[in-house]
Symmetry: C2
Subunit: 391 residues, 2 copies
């Protein structure tokens, strides 16, 4: 039941008519308390959608009572009118919830949108959808809510983590444009654990750092990425900060891996692990350089063990960002030590690239830090799906 | 006649047998003087092929008497043995030229290689090819030399510039992995103008900066990129530094545009021009971010006027690298003002993406500097060609 698994949450997912397909396109998640703690992490893109500007403000005080999400339009690059549309949506949600006797202020309603950039949302359709969503809010609404935020996703992404008397639930959409700061994704995570706003913010930031921010499906960073965490405190349990952090990171990791597995057109899920770097950041820089090499990604699609494309990508990272000796690199591809001391290692024909999972290990021999970045191969279907999105 | 158009040069291109196809694979260009001025610009990749290490040393003193180039193997990631192979090749060239009565030292023989990374070169085949090349050196050998350096190129790239009593000739290979610092390319430029080594170095660096280094076909930077300039001084004419600079940049631009038009699998040539930036470097950073967006490049392939992918790529550039207000961006796609003040502009359906040439203009409204980066679309054929290169 995803976001409605923890106590204190109700949700809905309905068809407003924003998608030409007639599939569900508006989701609503409402926190019934007793606490209304919230935190958010957003895209690091400087060009941000109106709902990102709005929702940053909503969670700035550590509180959100509800989050409304629509697919079928990103409300990005829509100017002041687009921001007004987001504001109107939040006010409409608050009014509809107030009519049910809930004391919700518009300033506590987070808004998320996903879809095509550069188009205004059809507001009358959306607001009618909001009314329908409010009317169908239910304690088991998590599944339909998860369905309503899908765009090119082939499956809904949900997670549940069971703590000791408390739990975490989550839902997300995202199937492309996965890149740091973050994937093109919307994600709502709920918990009935008792946490305070500062803890929520810290825990969410840390969880995102090593999960969503390490996904780099196609190097493209969206204008709308949002992860919202809401706590109802309804379990009455207060886990230790480290216990909650571990659980939240596990939940985020689970969702991130689901996003990876559903990336548009992908046929391989590639883990690029850089070891013995001088720092975690240096390791991440190197892994990300490899994850962004189209030549490498096309080779993996073709099951071509062309490891030269790995070390040539490693070599593009500036020395001040990742110190290492370019003449002593080691690379393993699916367990085969193909590159030894930057030279020819085991025979490339030993590498089996038939499995969907591909495991790249790069040893920099420069320090003791490690980082993993996950990406996908570059396929015919990726090009196909992304060559005709808006038309 | 490309590199043999200027006086004082002879060249050859022969089949050594390095390529399974039986096509020409070894080229040789020899400067007959009276001057032997040379300069080189090389990949900025930290992982460099043995011939790059060698040729950097050769041109360090401003002199080169000959350049030998092979396709069919990059001699990269081949360790100390690979460097020895390059050294042996240069010594073999010098010996063979000495046998013809030419006073050539091995330390003045530049070596370039291109092909698969991570494989040793078959040296007996290569050295026999060197002998054959030396034997067939001719004043009209430029065309066959240009043919012998092709890899996945569909056409040979050559240029000639006529100065006032002097000239420039050039040949290049490169059809993928085109990225800054430079394209995956080998390029030899010759001139019979009288220039000194310092001028050669400065002029070549400046010419490369705004031509080859502004090509970003697929964001991938090679281990072997080399541009060598050689001057014979045989014309007896000494153009002014600015006159020579203009000519050299024009020749490099001509070759760079030929590389762009022949990029693997491309169906569109895209010029991304960023205007009104705070500096040329800032403009270049923004243009390069767009040139590396797979989503943007796939959309252009699909003739989908999805301009949201342009501004979302613009927004990924950190503020300290390119100051601008993300809410006042303007974008034109093939002349249509599709994005105004970061919002919806003219109707996207007005954009015609049928022509091969695509012209993107991005106005940052932040300063007065301009830069253009050239790239290609991301196509099915790109993925296809690059998914089975080594196997």
């Amino acid at each position: 039941m995803t976001v409605t698994h923890p106590r204190g949450f109700i949700a809905a997912g309905i068809t407003a008519g924003l998608k030409a397909s007639g599939k569900k396109d508006v989701a609503l998640v409402v926190n019934e308390g007793p606490t209304f703690v919230a935190a958010g992490v957003f895209t690091s893109n400087r060009v941000v959608a109106a709902p990102v500007v709005w929702t940053r403000q909503v969670v700035a005080d550590g509180r959100a009572d509800a989050v409304v999400l629509n697919s079928g339009g990103a409300n990005a690059a829509t100017g002041p009118e687009g921001f007004l549309d987001t504001h109107t949506t939040a006010e409409h949600v608050a009014s509809a919830l107030q009519a049910q006797g809930r004391d919700v202020s518009p300033g506590d309603v987070a808004v998320c949108s996903t879809g095509l950039i550069g188009m205004r949302l059809p507001m009358s359709t959306l607001l009618a959808g909001v009314d329908a969503a409010v009317a169908s809010l239910a304690p088991d609404g998590g599944a339909v809510a998860a369905e309503a935020i899908m765009t090119t996703d082939s499956v809904a992404k949900t997670t549940v983590f069971e703590g000791d008397g408390w739990s975490i639930g989550g839902m997300a959409k995202g199937a492309g444009m996965l890149a740091p700061g973050m994937a093109t994704m919307l994600c709502v995570i709920t918990t009935d654990a008792i946490i305070d706003p500062a803890q929520a913010r810290l825990a969410l930031t840390e969880a995102v750092r090593t999960t969503f921010n390490r996904l780099d499906s196609d190097g493209c960073m969206s204008t709308n990425d949002t992860v919202v965490l809401m706590s109802s405190g309804a379990s009455g349990f207060q886990p230790s900060p480290s216990e909650f952090q571990t659980a939240l990171t596990a939940a985020a990791h689970d969702i991130a891996q689901q996003l990876l597995r559903d990336a548009e057109g992908a046929e391989h899920d590639i883990a690029i692990r850089v070891v013995n770097a001088t720092s975690e950041l240096a390791a991440e820089k190197v892994a990300r350089a490899v994850s962004r090499s189209n030549l490498f990604k096309a080779a993996i699609f073709g099951k071509d063990p062309n490891w030269g494309r790995i070390i040539s990508a490693v070599g593009t990272v500036p020395e001040d960002e990742a110190p290492f000796n370019a003449e002593t690199l080691d690379v393993w591809v699916n367990g085969v030590h193909a590159c030894k001391a930057s030279g020819v290692g085991e025979d490339r024909s030993l590498i089996d690239l038939n499995p969907r999972a591909v495991d790249i290990v790069i040893d920099l021999h420069a320090g003791e830090a490690t980082a993993t970045v996950w990406t996908n191969d570059l396929t015919h279907d990726y090009v196909h799906e992304n060559s005709a999105y808006s038309t």
